[in-house]
C-alpha cells in the first residue's frame, strides 16, 4: 500500500493557542482511518486542514507526495461529509446530490485537455524560437559575407514560420477533435441523471429525488450528504462525526453501511469521532488524539489491548489502572505482590502503570482466586453487570455476566496476559 496522504509536523495555532502540535500521520490508500479523541483534542481541526478549510500554522500536507497546502479546497481530491450535513436547503435531494457535477460543468475534462494543449503549444513555440536564436548566433560566428549571411537568416526564418504553422495546425486539429467529444446539454443532463440515480441507489434513497431535504429524517439527510460527497468520486472521503446526530440503532446500521461502502468503492475514509466503540468497530487504523497531539496510532486491537499510556487506556473502554514496578522482564509488581506478565523491554525497577480490562477479571468463590475482596456495588449494564470489588489495597471494576450480591465475600482472578504494562504517564 502506498502513502496517499502525509501530514508532516503539522501545527495549528488559534490566537496564540496551540490546538495541534507536531502532527505526523501517514494515511494509506483504501484505508479506513479514524481520528479519535475527546472534544477539543484537535481531530476536527486535522480533518479540516486536510479538506483545505483551514491552513496549518506550520507543517506540510502531502497528497500523493505533492504538497497540497496551496491548493484551494474546491480543487482538492477530497470530499467531506459535514457534522451537520450542510445540505443545501434550497435544493431538493436530487439537486443536492447533483451539485458537484453541475458546478464542474459538462466538459471539465475537455477544457482541461484543451488548456493543456495550448500550454504545450506555447512551450513548443518558445523552444523553437530559442533554437532559431541559437542558430543565428552560431551563424554570425561562422563569418559569412553579408549577402550569404542574409540568405541564411532568411532561410532559417522561413523554416521557423513553416514549422510554427505546422504545429499550430496540428494543435487546432487536436482541439477540434476534443471539442467534438463535448457533451451537449441534453447528454449532460442524462449523465447527471444516471450518476445521481446510481448514488441515490447506493445509499438506499431511490424515490426520494424530489423530496425537500428539510423534510428528511436525520439518517436520510446523512445518506444524502454521503451520496453528494461520493458523486465527485473523491480519492479521500472526510467524515466529521457524521453519525453523532443519529440514534443508536440507526448509528449501528450506518456504521456497517459506511464500512461496506468504503470496501466496495475503494475510497480512503478519514473518519472523525469521539465514540470509541464506533472507532473500534469501523477502523483499519485508529489515531488517538488528546490536547492537539497524537497519543497512539494502531489497529483497533493494538489500541485496545496494548494502550500506550493511561489516557488511551481510559479513553478506549474502561480499565483498572494500577501503579506498579517492573521488576524484570515478564515480572511486574504492584501492591507488594509480584505477578508474571507478558511484557518486557522495560528498565529494571522502572515505575509503570498496569492496565487490567474489567472483562478480563473473573470472580471466583472465596479461596480460589488471587485476591480476596468484598462486593461493593453492582450495576446492571444490559449485556453485563458492572461489579466493584474492594480488596485490601484497591477497588477493582469487573464486567461479568454472573450476578453477585452486594456484600458477598469473593475472590478475583486474572492471568498474565491480562496485565498490560505501560510506561508511567
Amino acid at each position: 500500500m502506498a502513502a496517499l496522504i502525509e501530514l508532516k509536523d503539522v501545527t495549528k495555532e488559534f490566537n496564540g493557542q496551540v490546538v495541534l502540535r507536531g502532527i505526523d500521520l501517514v494515511i494509506e490508500q483504501n484505508e479506513f482511518v479514524t481520528l479519535l479523541g475527546p472534544s477539543g483534542c484537535g481531530k476536527t481541526t486535522t480533518l479540516r486542514i486536510i479538506g483545505g478549510f483551514i491552513d496549518p500554522t506550520s507543517g506540510e500536507v502531502l497528497f500523493d507526495g505533492k504538497d497540497i497546502l496551496s491548493v484551494p479546497s474546491h480543487k482538492r481530491p477530497t470530499n467531506t461529509v459535514f457534522q451537520r450535513y450542510a445540505l443545501f436547503p434550497h435544493l431538493d435531494v436530487y439537486e443536492n446530490v447533483a451539485f458537484g457535477l453541475r458546478v464542474k460543468g459538462a466538459n471539465i475534462e475537455q477544457s482541461k485537455a484543451i488548456s493543456q494543449l495550448k500550454k504545450e503549444y506555447q512551450e513548443t513555440i518558445k523552444k523553437m524560437k530559442n533554437e532559431v536564436k541559437q542558430a543565428k548566433l552560431e551563424l554570425r560566428s561562422k563569418g559569412f559575407d553579408k549577402e550569404a549571411y542574409k540568405e541564411e537568416i532568411y532561410k532559417i526564418d522561413g523554416d521557423l514560420y513553416k514549422k510554427i504553422e505546422e504545429v499550430y495546425n496540428e494543435k487546432q486539429e487536436k482541439i477540434h477533435h476534443i471539442k467534438q467529444t463535448n457533451l451537449n446539454k441534453k447528454d449532460f443532463e442524462q449523465l447527471v441523471n444516471n450518476k445521481v440515480t446510481k448514488y441515490l441507489k447506493m445509499v438506499g434513497l431511490e424515490g426520494y429525488e424530489r423530496r425537500s431535504v428539510s423534510k428528511l429524517s436525520g439518517g436520510q439527510q446523512q445518506r444524502v450528504a454521503i451520496a453528494r460527497a461520493l458523486i465527485n468520486e473523491p480519492k479521500v472521503l472526510l467524515l466529521d462525526e457524521p453519525l453523532a446526530a443519529l440514534d443508536l440503532k440507526l448509528r449501528q446500521e450506518m456504521q456497517y453501511e459506511l464500512k461496506e461502502l468504503q470496501r466496495s468503492a475503494g475510497i480512503t475514509f478519514i473518519f472523525v469521532t469521539h465514540d470509541q466503540e464506533e472507532a473500534l468497530t469501523m477502523s483499519d487504523k485508529i489515531v488517538v488524539m488528546n490536547h492537539g497531539e497524537i497519543q497512539q496510532i494502531g489497529t483497533p486491537e493494538d489500541i485496545y489491548n496494548e494502550p500506550i499510556n493511561t489516557f488511551v487506556a481510559k479513553f478506549i473502554g474502561e480499565s483498572n489502572i494500577i501503579p506498579g514496578i517492573m521488576k524484570d522482564d515478564l515480572l511486574v509488581s504492584f501492591d507488594g505482590v509480584d505477578y508474571v506478565c507478558v511484557d518486557k523491554g522495560f528498565a529494571k525497577n522502572e515505575k509503570v502503570d498496569i492496565v487490567i480490562r474489567p472483562e478480563d477479571i473473573d470472580i471466583v468463590p472465596l479461596g480460589k482466586g488471587i485476591l480476596s475482596g468484598v462486593v461493593d456495588s453492582v450495576a446492571f449494564k444490559g449485556v453485563h453487570y458492572e461489579i466493584d470489588v474492594i480488596t485490601k489495597d484497591r477497588t477493582f471494576t469487573i464486567h461479568t455476566t454472573d450476578y453477585q450480591k452486594e456484600g458477598t465475600k469473593v475472590d478475583i482472578v486474572f492471568g498474565p496476559e491480562d496485565l498490560h504494562v505501560m510506561e508511567e504517564w
Binding site: 479538506g51 483545505g52 478549510f53 484551494p72 479546497s73 474546491h74 480543487k75 477530497t78 470530499n79 467531506t80 459535514f82 457534522q83 451537520r84 450542510a86 445540505l87 443545501f88 436547503p89 434550497h90 451539485f99 458537484g100 453541475r102 458546478v103 464542474k104 425537500s212 428539510s214 453528494r228 460527497a229 465527485n232
Partner: protein
C-alpha cells in the same frame, strides 16, 4: 393563533382565563388595525366612488373620479414615470446594497455592529433635512442636474439604502458557513458558490428589501419636491395637489386606489420570484 385558540377552547375552563387574557393583550393591535388601517381605507374607498367633492356628505355612487383619471393622459404618464423611476431606483439600491450587506457579514462581529449603525445612521436625520442637504450639494456641484432622472434616482438610493441593506444583511448573517464550505468542498469556485448558494439563499432578503424600497420610492413626495427643481412631478405630488390644493378628495382617493392596486400587483410578482420561500420558512 387561530389554531392554538381552537385547541385552548376545547380544553378545560381553567384555560379559558388564559384565552381571555390573550384576547385582551391583542386589543391594542386590533384597535390599530381598525382605526388606523381599515377605517381610513374604507373612507378612501367611499370618497373614490362618490361624486361629491365639496366636503358635504351627500353620497351618490359614481365612477367619475376614476374616469377623470383614466382620461387625463398626463396623470397616467406621471404614474408610469413614477413606477419606472421607482423600479430603477430599486435596482440601483440593490446593486449598491447587496454587495454592501455581503461585505458587512464578512467583518468581525464588532465591526458588523458598527457598520450596520453607520448604514442606518442616515435614518437618524429627518428625511426633509436629508433631501434638502442633497439638493444643496447638487446645486453646488452641478445645478443643471437638478430634476434629472439621475438625481431623482440618486435621491431614492440615498434615502432608502438602509431599507435594502438591513433585510439582506439579516438573511446573509444567518447563512450557515458550513454551506459555503460544503459548496467549495464539492468543487465550486467562490463565484459559483455565490451564484449557486449565497444568492439563492438570500433571495428572501432581496425581495423584502426590494419591496421596502420600491413602495416608498413609487409614492415619495419629498424627493421630487426637493430634487425635482419644480419641474418633476410624481404620482405622490399629484395626489397631494388634488387633495390639499384643489380639495378633490374623491379624485385623490381614486388615484391612490389605482396606485395601490398596481403596487399590489408588483408585490405579487416579486413574491412569485421567491421560489425558496418555503425553505426559509422552515428554517425559521
Amino acid at each position: 393563533m387561530a389554531k392554538s385558540g381552537n385547541i385552548l377552547f376545547k380544553n378545560h375552563n381553567k384555560q379559558k382565563g388564559k384565552r381571555n387574557l390573550r384576547d385582551v393583550l391583542g386589543l391594542p393591535y386590533y384597535i390599530v388595525v381598525l382605526v388606523l388601517i381599515l377605517l381610513p381605507f374604507l373612507i378612501m374607498i367611499l370618497y373614490a366612488f362618490s361624486s361629491t367633492s365639496d366636503g358635504t356628505f351627500d353620497i351618490t355612487f359614481s365612477l367619475s373620479n376614476f374616469g377623470k383619471f383614466f382620461n387625463e393622459k398626463t396623470f397616467i404618464n406621471t404614474m408610469i414615470e413614477s413606477l419606472y423611476l421607482a423600479a430603477l431606483s430599486t435596482i440601483f439600491t440593490l446593486l449598491v446594497g447587496y454587495p454592501l450587506a455581503y461585505f458587512i457579514t464578512k467583518l468581525s462581529r464588532r465591526k458588523q455592529v458598527l457598520m450596520i449603525a453607520l448604514v442606518t445612521s442616515t435614518m437618524w436625520v429627518n428625511m426633509l433635512l436629508r433631501a434638502n442637504a442633497l439638493k444643496q450639494i447638487i446645486d453646488m456641484i452641478s445645478p443643471s442636474l437638478m430634476g434629472s432622472n439621475f438625481v431623482i434616482i440618486l435621491g431614492n438610493v440615498y434615502m432608502f439604502l438602509p431599507f435594502m441593506v438591513l433585510p439582506i444583511y439579516t438573511v446573509l448573517a444567518k447563512l450557515d458557513v458550513s454551506l459555503l464550505e460544503s459548496s467549495a468542498d464539492l468543487g465550486a469556485s467562490s463565484f459559483k458558490t455565490m451564484t449557486k448558494v449565497v444568492i439563492p439563499l438570500s433571495l428572501s432578503g432581496v425581495i423584502s428589501g426590494c419591496m421596502m424600497v420600491f413602495l416608498p420610492a413609487a409614492t415619495t413626495l419629498v424627493i421630487p419636491k426637493y430634487l425635482g427643481d419644480g419641474k418633476r412631478f410624481m404620482i405622490g405630488n399629484l395626489i397631494e395637489n388634488a387633495v390639499i390644493q384643489k380639495h378633490e378628495y374623491g379624485y385623490g382617493a381614486a388615484i391612490s386606489i389605482v396606485l395601490g392596486l398596481i403596487l399590489l400587483f408588483f408585490m405579487f410578482l416579486l413574491k412569485k420570484t421567491d421560489k425558496y420561500d418555503e425553505v426559509l420558512d422552515y428554517e425559521q
